[in-house]
């Protein structure tokens, strides 16, 4: 069998074996409906609340503040639409240009349907300017929705400061923390965030399950209407096995949290440093320090990203790219464009995102395979002269 080195964990993660094991009985013998009056189904209600506690514990919430959803996108939609509907008099939303499409496209839709949306820009390292946020706030601003960690670059936003600003003005602050939960310690009890979206499959739970944290006292109207599930805040029969899996994944994440900052960060740094050192046409996208411990986004100038991915794929390495060609759209990643990354680099960006399951040996394998791949594409490229010039300059700097 072909070797597989999976370093695309910001796209999705493997289900932890402990998570799968915890889930299995709920597909077979424990298939009841938690809303049923009989013990066979009704007993599952307790199990769901145990999972709710496990999720709450990971982020420092109380279990009543957690509702289960079908994933990050639903959590984002529920938080944003639920806030708007609960505050119908105010029509202004603040977000950023680098949000995940779940937030960005929803906000763009709202902008065409009666709302005004301010998208804050970022600097060349992907950082926000809080003065710009201050300046954007209006009397009718109802919601600030800003991500914690960027999925493409891993760059972190100062969410506590943002929440503080929102709180002073009486504005609800929703934070899409899908990439941060499980990778960074979170304590919403001490935080200024009013709502947090999280997704199961980014932290070794299965796809199709997520959660939304809503701080007690925050005004919210349910997005999904129907039965009385989730304390009337999210209708629909509970996805019991996946919720159990998410609970277990959160418990494991809490246990492994220190590893993210030590083991995973060390592997990521090794991978990043060796690539940047070896490849003279490479550059890092995003702030080096204010970043998730598992993510690195590297551009290979004058080399095209999809071609790199396909050649990496040939040797079993799974990564992703912000190149135009990989998305089906014709323009490179909106995040890299917002950062002003030059086209020569944006088309050749590769994201490696690690997890606690990656090994040092795998990092060595990637580092070994990158140079011949880049060299091969360089030989095909009409810009080989430009690359060489760039490499000479980089070598002179060293």
């Amino acid at each position: 069998m072909k070797r597989l080195v999976y370093v695309d964990n910001n796209a999705t993660t493997r289900v932890a074996p402990e998570v799968l094991e915890a889930m299995l009985p709920y597909f077979t013998e424990l298939y009841g409906n938690p809303s049923s009056m009989h013990t066979f189904g009704g007993q599952l209600y307790k199990k769901i609340n145990q999972a709710r506690e496990q999720v709450a514990n990971l982020i420092g919430a109380s279990p009543q503040e957690i509702i289960f959803t079908s994933g990050g996108t639903e959590s984002d939609n529920a938080a944003i639409r639920g806030t708007l509907e609960a505050n119908p008099d105010k029509k202004h939303i603040i977000t950023t240009r680098v949000e995940h499409p779940a937030v960005l496209n929803l906000c763009q839709y709202l902008a065409q349907n009666g709302y005004e949306v301010t998208e804050l820009g970022v600097d060349s390292q992907g950082l926000l300017d809080l003065d710009e946020l201050h300046g954007a706030i209006r009397d009718d601003t109802v919601l600030i929705t800003i991500m914690y960690a960027n999925n493409e670059t891993g760059v972190l936003f100062p969410v506590e400061e943002i929440g503080q600003i929102a709180r002073e003005k009486g504005i609800t602050f929703h934070c899409d923390a899908v990439q941060a939960v499980g990778k960074l310690p979170l304590d919403v009890g001490k935080s200024t965030m009013d709502m947090i979206s999280l997704s199961g499959h980014k932290l070794h739970a299965p796809k199709g399950v997520g959660a939304l944290y809503i701080r007690k006292g925050v005004r919210f109207k349910p997005f999904m209407l129907g039965g009385h599930h989730e304390n009337n805040r999210r209708a629909g029969t509970e996805n019991v096995p996946s919720i159990i899996g998410l609970g277990m994944a959160c418990e494991l994440a809490r246990k492994h949290l220190p590893e993210e900052q030590t083991k995973v960060r060390k592997l990521r740094d090794k991978l990043e440093n060796l690539i940047l050192y070896q490849m003279l046409n490479s550059r890092l996208n995003g702030h080096k320090i204010l970043r998730l411990p598992n993510t690195t986004n590297i551009s290979f100038e004058y080399v095209e990203g999809e071609a790199i991915l396909l050649l990496l794929n040939e040797v079993g390495i799974c990564a992703s790219s912000g190149s135009a060609c990989t998305s089906g759209s014709l323009e490179p990643s909106h995040v890299l464009r917002a950062m002003g990354v030059p086209f020569t680099a944006a088309h050749g960006s590769i994201r490696f995102s690690l997890s606690r399951y990656n090994t040092e040996e795998e990092v060595d394998y990637i580092v070994e395979h990158i140079p011949p791949i880049i060299r091969r594409l360089k030989e095909i490229s009409p810009y080989s002269a430009e690359i060489e010039e760039l490499e000479l300059k980089a070598a002179a700097r060293k």
Partner: protein, 282 residues
Amino acid sequence: MWDYTDKVKDYFLHPRNVGEIKDADAVGEVGAIACGDALRLYLKLDKKNGNRIADAKFKTFGCGSAIASASALTEMVIGKTLEEAEKITNQDIADFLGGLPPEKMHCSVMGKEALESAIANYRGYKAAPAEEGVIVCKCFGVTDVKIERVVKENRLTTVEQVTNYCKAGGGCKSCHPDIQGIIDKVWEKEVKPVAIPAKPKKMSNLRKMQLIQETIERDIRPVLMMDGGDMDLIDVDGNTVYVSFRGSCAECAGSRVTLKSTVEAKLREFVTEELVVEEVNQ
């Protein structure tokens, strides 16, 4: 993940004719790094042998299908005269590779353009024809002439297709109305085939009844019900359909209009032109 054919994968992983020809007779260059792909094509002609293309080499910056298309093109042109090579279309390049994903057709167009550019270069023209015209898509610098050409050559009918074939409209989207205008202009000129009304087929009474009932349930009652009305089918006699209005329709002075404009029109559309609808009070 793109659904590339095995041949695309093969030509990407093992590209034929990569490189430069130092003493090339013709060099064609298209694309730009800002647009995400670029291609330089070199041709060497065999002057003793009727100016046939003796060798072709390429260099590409671009995705898997861009590299495969360029490589395929070099294999296709070697051995041909310039006049023969000129006849190669972007569709020929895509076909050679066993097809390209729709979103990647612009890679084959890039190949075709590089070839044109090289031939123009050999003949001493300054620019390939596609470079004339007015820029329509500012994001990717695509002219009206080029858009019109891909529309005609590939029989494109939607803006999305135009974007797939030449990238125009793939950025800020503000030129979409202009692109639609070009598409409309191109196909307006074409002689529209005269629509011959289909002869009403001989229909059995049973089939006619079925169609009438289906149409009422699907297309008529939901419309009436939106206004608080409803309608029952009472009888069908030959081509006369007897119906009775219910709810708000029953008292409505405009029900005669509804009868003709909605009920009869829908039934004639979906069943047969010969139907007449009459209202009965029941």
